[in-house]
């Protein structure tokens, strides 16, 4: 973990304006929080918070960031000291918010915002509407169908994978997301996909059960955690990198267990015909 004190952003120091330290720190914290909970890398959170603090003239600020914690302090010597720890539950990826905060921090560094304007801008980003659930479900279905094709399925397989892809995202949004733990949710997801694909296969939709299952389990695969884990580790943020990598591995294993259980249960029931 590097502290921000080592990587000052030189250009903003000259233009620094003196503002109320606590407000600036709170602003930086909120920006960091928005980034972290929506799937940004550790170094981006550090850089953004640093940029905001330096621009508004809080030279003594430093922050320590983990996968789901931000700790920030400011103040030196005997005077007033700002210190805050915040726990941040990671709630999936909303890369549009990451992009928006990133853009905002650039504009702050260019001097386009006062502190209170920046607060308002952050609030607008926080309230940015999520994509509609119907759109997400549709995207999941289409992507599953396309993945099925990538891995060798024919047209009917793709259709079946698309149907299973719709259903798996309904499962993610309404059952596993709000109600189940990560482990049970993913084991269940893997089993659910296997079950749906088997039913479709027995109903005569799709010819290659394997490709159908592979395509429609892709929405469960933890590609974001995996990629960000590598980036964090490559940046030297080993703790967050390791934790995220364990997270990704755990999900991978859970999906495999779910699919395996699905096959093991269904195979005798369908007389092995499906496999």
């Amino acid at each position: 973990m590097s502290t921000s004190g080592q990587k000052r952003i030189e250009s903003t120091i000259d233009t620094a304006i003196d503002c109320d330290e606590d407000e600036v720190m709170e602003l930086a914290m909120q920006a960091g929080e928005l980034l972290l909970e929506n799937g940004a890398e550790i170094f981006r959170v550090e850089e953004t918070m640093d940029r905001i603090c330096r621009h508004y003239g809080v030279e003594s600020a430093s922050q320590f960031i983990l996968m789901n914690y931000i700790l920030a302090t400011a103040g030196e010597g005997h005077g007033h000291v700002f210190a805050k720890v915040r726990h941040i539950p990671v709630n999936g990826s909303h890369l549009d918010k990451v992009a928006a905060v990133n853009q905002l921090s650039r504009e702050i560094a260019e001097g386009k915002y006062t502190v209170s304007e920046a607060y308002q801008a952050l609030e607008t980003i926080r309230r940015m509407p999520d994509k509609r659930k119907s759109v997400l479900i549709l995207a999941s279905g289409v992507a599953s169908g396309a993945f099925c094709c990538l891995f060798g399925g024919n047209l009917m397989d793709c259709l079946a994978a698309a149907i299973a892809g719709f259903l798996i995202y309904v499962y993610i949004l309404y059952i596993s997301g709000p109600h189940l733990s990560k482990i049970v949710g993913n084991v269940g997801g893997g089993a659910f996909v296997t079950l749906v694909c088997n039913l479709l296969y027995m109903a005569g939709i799709g010819d290659h059960l394997n490709f159908m299952i592979i395509g429609s389990m892709m929405p469960l695969v933890p590609g974001v955690a995996f990629t960000i884990a590598i980036r964090d580790a490559a940046d030297g943020d080993y703790i967050s990198g390791t934790v995220r990598m364990i997270d990704a591995l755990l999900v991978f294993i859970c999906i495999a267990i779910g699919v395996g259980m699905g096959i093991a249960v269904l195979n005798p029931l369908t007389g092995g015909a499906a496999l």
Partner: protein, 143 residues
């Protein structure tokens, strides 16, 4: 092959939607995902799965960094969806499948390949992020 690449583009854009990528960047994500899969298919004729994954990952990351510099936004936006077709989801499936059906030798083989592919992706990401930012600024500026 054409159909495969179109499928890769569609799959990548689909995942961009799931991850909340701003809609104006969908075309970039699609092109990056398609290019990655094209390179993967070409490389697969000469190299192993892991080698092809390494080449494809490097292309995906290179294009993502270029797009990020040009559009002045986080590189994550472009690379996550683009890298998705390469992540060994199928490997995980086959491993589970072979374990359950008691074909342990095949299970070990596919599991080992999946790990190799994952390592190849890691190396691809790390290598290309080592390239200096200035290179991408210059490349993007010339266009």
């Amino acid at each position: 092959m054409m159909i495969q690449i179109i499928a890769a583009v569609i799959a990548t854009v689909g995942f961009s939607v799931l991850f909340g990528v701003p809609s104006k960047y969908y075309p970039y994500c699609g092109v990056i995902g398609g290019a990655g899969w094209l390179v993967y298919l070409i490389a697969l004729e000469r190299f192993s799965t892991a080698g092809a994954s390494l080449a494809a990952t490097m292309v995906v990351i290179f294009l993502s960094r270029l797009a990020a510099v040009r559009k002045k936004c986080p590189v994550t936006i472009f690379l996550i969806a683009g890298i998705f077709p390469l992540v060994p989801g199928a490997g995980v499936y086959w491993t589970a499948y072979y374990i359950v059906t008691d074909q342990l030798r095949l299970a070990a083989e596919t599991g080992y390949t999946a790990v190799k592919v994952a390592v190849a992706i890691v190396l691809g990401i790390v290598f290309i992020f080592e390239l200096p930012q200035g290179l991408f600024v210059r490349l993007a500026g010339n266009k």
